[in-house]
Symmetry: C2
Subunit: 220 residues, 2 copies
């Protein structure tokens, strides 16, 4: 079996939110799909080790904020690279409460669900949620997982060169050495490709995806 | 609730194949996602009314062929706009048997599964399949549902104008009247946008998506 084939399955990028008692929490997710249209239900796959899983089990409710191509990449990091058990995931986040659940304002739509069934697997729970409310927000296209990897991650502060585009630039400008080592965020894998040499960035620089400090970057 | 929000969920485009006794059958699907990585499992949502559903229930096995942006659009129609109960879905299709299941050759990867669990809903079955084999085929990017709607459906025989691109052309060339009525396939919704007036196409013309005859087109 060639596990690379799983990269050819297509997904969106979402923040699944729920309640930990009266506290808002949530996490980044990709595995979400509509199951039925009338009544509308969606399925969400969530790892057992994810704190959000136990909170959905307890509250019986969850909401999905659908990230768009214009959503701040830092949302993915804030909700995806730390645990809601220890941190307030919604600290500094612009959100609105809908039916008692937090919805990100910086997204292109939301769906609110109550859990009506679930299927347990070896490592994940598949929650089946009946949709109680939902709406689109703005007109930006939804962010796909492929877009996140190909465009967001490859984007430098001033431009958005993908790896291939960078090769094109190199071909036109032989002074650019694309084989030079790169600074990579050790937490989320973001590759720094800005024009300012990484060493000259201020100490206050943080990863644009997961907000970790400059000290978390490693040279590869 | 604004049901348009469901259009912001992202999917791929797949052909799910299985066996009807010793006969190959299958259907087009979008709702597929990986659930666990080790052991690898994927979930597929399938309508109760779909003939493929009953065949998966009986055989306990299914395969997924992942369509790429270069896959023939007619595959979507052949597997999506007719029932396998009455027709041989694989007639004229280039395929290879893997572990006893048919895999399309014109795709970017395949996944073979045995059903290990399922969750019934009001109208659909969510099959949980343990992956027994899988591989990538070629390097073309996977087709997303958004790509199918925005690019494939809007593509004319010579160009690939989306609705927005067509507006741009209109702005540059005032002789083009984008408000003119269009010929639309009554089966799959494909909009004809070729340069040859629809009425002048030969009677042998068929819809490039679902292969229905010219007579199935209606003017809208």
């Amino acid at each position: 079996m060639n596990k690379n084939v799983f990269r050819n399955l297509s997904y969106g990028v979402y923040v699944v939110s729920t309640l930990d008692g009266s506290r808002n929490t949530g996490c980044t997710a990709n595995s979400i799909m509509q199951i039925t249209s009338s009544p509308a239900t969606i399925a969400v796959s969530m790892n057992h080790d994810n704190y959000t899983n136990s909170c959905i089990q307890a509250s019986g409710r969850f909401a999905v904020s659908i990230l768009s191509e214009l959503s701040a990449p830092s949302l993915i990091g804030q909700f995806g690279f730390q645990s809601g058990k220890d941190t307030d995931k919604f600290e500094g986040i612009d959100f609105t409460m809908k039916e008692g659940l937090p919805i990100l304002n910086d997204c292109c739509g939301y769906i609110i669900c109550k859990v009506i069934n679930k299927m347990e697997t070896s490592t994940h729970t598949v929650f089946l949620g009946e949709v109680t409310d939902g709406d689109t927000l703005g007109s930006a296209p939804a962010m796909t997982y492929a877009y996140y990897h190909n465009v967001v991650k490859g984007k430098s502060p001033k431009n958005a060169p993908t790896y291939i585009a960078e090769e094109d630039i190199s071909a036109k400008d032989p002074t650019k050495d694309v084989t030079a080592s790169k600074w990579v965020c050790g937490v989320c894998g973001y590759v720094y490709e800005g024009e300012t040499p990484f060493e000259q960035l201020p100490d206050t620089y943080t990863c644009p995806v997961c907000r970790q400090s400059k000290t978390k970057f490693v040279q590869k």
